[in-house]
Structures are given as C-alpha cells and as structure tokens.
C-alpha cells in the first residue's frame, strides 16, 4: 500500500476492535505499551481471529511506532479517538489545561489589534479551535472524575482499604476539583470563563459592524462558538460543584469516621492509645445538689463507722414504659387512604383520634412510616406549618405520600 486511506483505517479498527481495545487498555495512561506485552497480545489474538495481525501491520496503519527503548507508543490521533470511542478518558492535570487556555488570551489580544482581514480570519479560526479543544478537555475531565468518584462511593474492591479511599478523595479535591473550579470561576478576571465573556461582548458587536461580509460571517461563527461554550461550561461547573464536590467531601468525611472507629476498636483495651478522650456523659446521679467538698468530708466521716467489707450494688435501670403507637395499624390506615396530601398533618390527626397526649416520641414513631420502602413521599413546596405537641412545637413541611406500585 502506497498511501493510507481513511477507509482502510476504519476497516482496520472494525476488524480488530477487541485487539485495539486491549492494546489501548494496556497502554494507559501514557499510551506506551511494553513490546513483550504487545507481542503477547498479538499472539493470543491471532489464535482465534482471522485476518491476523502483526507488528508490521500495526506500524503500516500508523497505529503505533517503536521508541528507542523498544516500547511502542500509540499514535496520538488514535489515542484521542479511542478515548472517545471507549468513553474512557485520561486525566490531565489542571495546570496543563491552564497553560492551554492561556493562549486564548494571547490570540484574542492579537485579534483586537490586527489590521489585516486575512490574518484576522486565521486568528478567529484558531480561537474557535482552541475553545473547542478546551471544552472537550473539560468535558473529559468531568466525566472521568464522575465515574471514578462513583466507583469510590460504591466501595469498588480496589478502594476497600479506607486510607486509600481517603487519600484518593483528598487528592482529587486538591489536585483537580479546586484548580478546575478556579479555571472556570466566573468572577475571576483570568479565568477561562472571563475570557469567553470578553470574546462574546466583542464579537456580538463585530458580527454586525465588521468591514466585509466574510469578516462578519467569521465573527458570527466565533460568537456562536462562545455562546455554546458558556452553556456547556455551566453544565460542567454544575456537575463539578453540585455533584462531585459534595460527593467527594462526603466520601472524605465518611472515610475519616470509619478510620477513627477502626483505631478505636483496635485499641479498645488501651484507652491511652485513643489519643482523644472518649465522650464521658455522666451516669444517672440521684440525690440532692451538694457541694463536692461536703460530700467528701461526709464520706470520710461515715467511713469511720464502716467496718464491714464493702458490697457493690448494681442499680438496674428501670425503664419507663411509654405507650407508643402500633405502626403496623397506622400504616394500614395510611394505605387505606390511597393518597395523603399532607402526611405530617395526617399523622397528627390520626394520633389525635387515640390520645390527647401526643408526645414527640409518639409522633415521631408514627412519622417514621415515611421511611418505609413501599411508600413514596413527594415534597411539593417549601411551606412549613407549626404543630404543637405535648412536649414540643415543631415546624413541618407539606409532604404528599402514596403507595409505591410494585412491578
């Protein structure tokens, strides 16, 4: 073959899809693959596949080239396309992204002062390209972080070690989320977002007052790209700040709690190793309010008459038996209603039919029905109403409840 055609490359990818995917996976994250591994992959693949594959063929279709170290490097164009194809992106450090978007400022400054129409057009096309590449980068990063965070959250095997999970969450927050937020920060004059706002302002005017029709058209294209980019960025920012950040913070603090508990359980017989004193709520204290000094003096006095060996009495806690509503009965009543528009008020009215003394614990033991899996709760408004119970006044939202229709 003298000249490589696009169709030939696509055919190669289609015919050897599984092989390409394996090679891609082994080469991540730098897209460099050990020559022994590549040869082994080829050998295994050739056992059960036809047409066969060879290193020469891979080099012919420019899939990879050999480095002086004998390793093989996957061609950048393939690597980019395959990341898109397998929806599996590598993470770039935000510093790298930052350097990349800084060129937008430089090109934009040049554009504003460029007198020649032909050069202006080239500058505009370059800015459009860079915005596009940058948007693609941000999208890739967000997707990658989201899927990795999800796997952290569901305790994938590789993160079963708590300290690893914690380390990962802290690393992502410090190295990716925070710097990415800064790059995209709306109020910051040097952020990518501000660059977009500036360009939008400039081009919204230029697309009408530029000297020629061709220039107007180019400015119009840039304007369109910028408006689209802002909307895209808003969506990504939302994912970063509203989904990823809280999720990672949560993983971080949950892992901290679990590792603290771990140390506690491991050292349970050696309180000096807890480092932090264990909470010390008091035991039940009965008696009158007296000064501590008086107590110790009295104890000393009484002790003089105490010739018997001391006996230890353990006082058993006497449980107060508070009547609590039978949740099964009330659940049946609730289900009979078909749909309840104001769940908390319904609980209050239902209890009222049985007792005038509605305490917080009675009320809560009934409102717990909301946690039942076969009930669906819908919060409609932010409106709150106050309900006066025997021992508390509480503000409660309006919640609609109905039975889940089972599949």
């Amino acid at each position: 073959m003298i000249k490589l055609s696009g169709k030939y490359i696509l055919k190669f990818l289609q015919n050897h899809y599984e092989f390409v995917q394996d090679a891609f996976n082994y080469s991540k994250p730098d897209f460099i693959i050990d020559s022994n591994i590549l040869e082994k992959l080829i050998e295994e693949y050739n056992i059960s596949n036809d047409p066969k594959i060879s290193v020469t063929k891979l080099i012919d279709v420019k899939f990879c080239r050999q480095l002086p170290t004998k390793d093989f490097k996957i061609n950048r164009s393939y690597a980019d396309f395959l990341q898109f194809l397998f929806d599996d992106f590598t993470l770039d450090l935000p510093q790298t992204l930052k350097e990349r978007y800084k060129t937008i400022f430089e090109l934009f400054t040049a554009l504003k002062t460029e007198p020649k129409a032909s050069k202006t057009i080239v500058l505009i096309q370059n800015i459009i390209n860079i915005i596009d590449v940058f948007l693609n980068d941000i999208h890739r990063q967000t997707q990658r972080l989201l899927s990795d965070t999800e796997s952290l959250k569901v305790n994938a095997d590789e993160y079963s070690d708590l300290s690893k999970r914690l380390e990962k969450a802290v690393f992502w927050i410090d190295e990716y989320i925070e710097p990415l937020n800064k790059i995209l920060e709306k109020g910051h004059p040097e952020s990518f977002y501000s660059a977009l706002v500036e360009i939008q302002k400039y081009t919204s005017e230029k697309q009408y007052i530029a000297d020629s029709f061709k220039l107007k058209r180019e400015y119009n294209k840039l304007y369109g790209s910028v408006v689209y980019a802002r909307a895209e960025l808003d969506q990504n920012l939302q994912k970063l700040t509203r989904e990823l950040r809280p999720l990672l913070d949560r993983i971080k603090s949950d892992s901290i709690i679990l590792s603290g508990f771990y140390h506690f359980v491991e050292n349970v017989d050696y309180p000096e190793n807890y480092i932090v004193p264990i909470p010390s709520p008091i035991k039940k204290t009965k008696g009158s309010a007296i000064f501590k000094e008086f107590y110790s003096e009295a104890e000393f006095f009484v002790d003089q008459f105490n010739y018997k060996t001391s006996a230890v009495y353990y006082e058993e806690q006497v449980e107060e038996l508070e009547w609590l509503p039978d949740s099964t009965y009330f659940k049946e009543q609730l289900l009979k209603e078909d749909k309840v528009e104001d769940f908390y008020l319904w609980c209050f009215d239902a209890l009222k039919k049985h007792t005038d003394e509605i305490t917080l614990s009675k009320y809560f033991s009934l409102t717990n029905l909301l946690l039942e899996e076969d009930l669906i709760a819908e919060y409609k408004t932010d409106e709150r109403i106050t309900i006066d119970l025997k021992d508390a006044s509480i503000k409660i939202p309006k919640v609609r409840v109905y039975e889940r229709v089972s599949n």
Binding site: V154, N155, R250, S253, D254, I256, I257, L258, S259, G260, F261, Y262, H263, F264, V265, V268, Y274, I275, V276, P277, I278, P279, S280, P281, I282, K283, K284, T285, K286, A289, I290, F291, K292, Q317, E319, E320, L324, D326, S327, T328, L360, S361, F364, S365, N368, L371, D391, A392, S393, I394
Partner: protein
C-alpha cells in the same frame, strides 16, 4: 434569690439522669437561652460540664469512667463498619434510617468483631438498646429502633481520633524525610 425557668426541675433531673436533651425539645431552647447560667450551675453544684452542641445537650465529667459509653462507641463503630462493608451508606442509615432490633443483633453476631462485642453490655442486645433509650440516644418503635441526633457526638469522636492519627503520620513522615 434568682428566678428559675418553669422547666428548671425537669432540666436538672433529666440531665442528672445522664440523658441527652435533643432539639427541638423546649428544654433544649431554654438551656440554650440560659447557657451561661446553667454552665455555672452544673459546674458549681456537681462539678459536671454542660456540653451544648448544635443539636443536643448533655452533662459530662472527666471523673466518669463509664464502660457503657465505651460499649456504645464499640457498638456504633462495628455497626458502621458492617454497613459500609455491605455497600450501604452507613452515615445516612444511622442518622436517618431505622433498624430492626433482631436483624441488627444478627448482623453484629455475624461480624468478625463480635468476639469483642460479646464481652460487653452489647451481648444482651435488647437490654443494651433499652438502656440507651433511657439516655435519649436511641428511640424504640415496636421491634425497630433509630438513633437520635446525639449519635453525632460519637461520629465527632471518631473524626477527632482519625485527624490526630493523620497528624501523627504526617509528623512521622516529616521526621523520616
């Protein structure tokens, strides 16, 4: 003689019973308003410290060596671990969900850490749960129980341990560097 709030008697007897007072109980807000007065009252009368947290209040004393508190912390630690291992979000479940008493006991008994728990008051699970209900750390409803907001005290304890351990580790790393 100063004036006491109407709930004074109830506040003092509940706190001296070792109970947590939890918002939105009216007692909670009364103590919150009179924080300085009550802090002084409890320290001078009993040498107890009044701890006013965001959502609960309790008395503590450095002189108390309460094994049952240690047992409760163990119980919570191992329950959190088991929930996490089974892929559940342990904090949501503990702070918001409810637990079946028998199923929870079974879950703990199957844990590899049961050998620690069985030597503590947790081994008599029904009694253990009832004891902590009387302190307002747990609410019971039929055969289910749930934790009150006071459980956060023990999460804070765990976080403090972990942070101290992290500091220790960082210092060690600095020393060896």
């Amino acid at each position: 003689m100063r004036e006491y709030p109407i709930e004074h008697n109830k506040i003092v007897s509940e706190l001296l019973d070792g109970k947590f007072i939890i918002s939105p109980s009216p007692l909670f807000y009364t103590i919150q308003e009179l924080e300085d007065d009550y802090t002084e009252f409890f320290i001078k009368s009993f040498n107890y410290k009044l701890n006013l947290e965001a959502e609960f209040i309790y008395l503590s004393s450095d002189e108390v060596n309460e094994k049952r508190t240690r047992d409760f912390t163990l119980f919570l630690a191992i329950l959190s671990r088991e929930l996490d291992y089974s892929g559940k979000n342990f904090r949501d479940k503990i702070e918001l969900g409810s637990f079946d008493i028998n199923e929870t006991e079974e879950l703990l008994r199957q844990s590899s850490k049961w050998e620690i728990l069985e030597k503590t008051t947790v081994s008599e699970f029904d009694k253990f749960i009832k004891t902590w209900r009387s302190k307002n750390l747990i609410e019971i409803d039929g055969n289910k129980f749930k934790f009150t907001k006071a459980v956060k005290l023990f999460f804070t304890f765990a976080m403090e341990i972990a942070e101290e351990k992290l500091k220790e580790k960082t210092n060690e790393e600095k020393a060896t560097a």
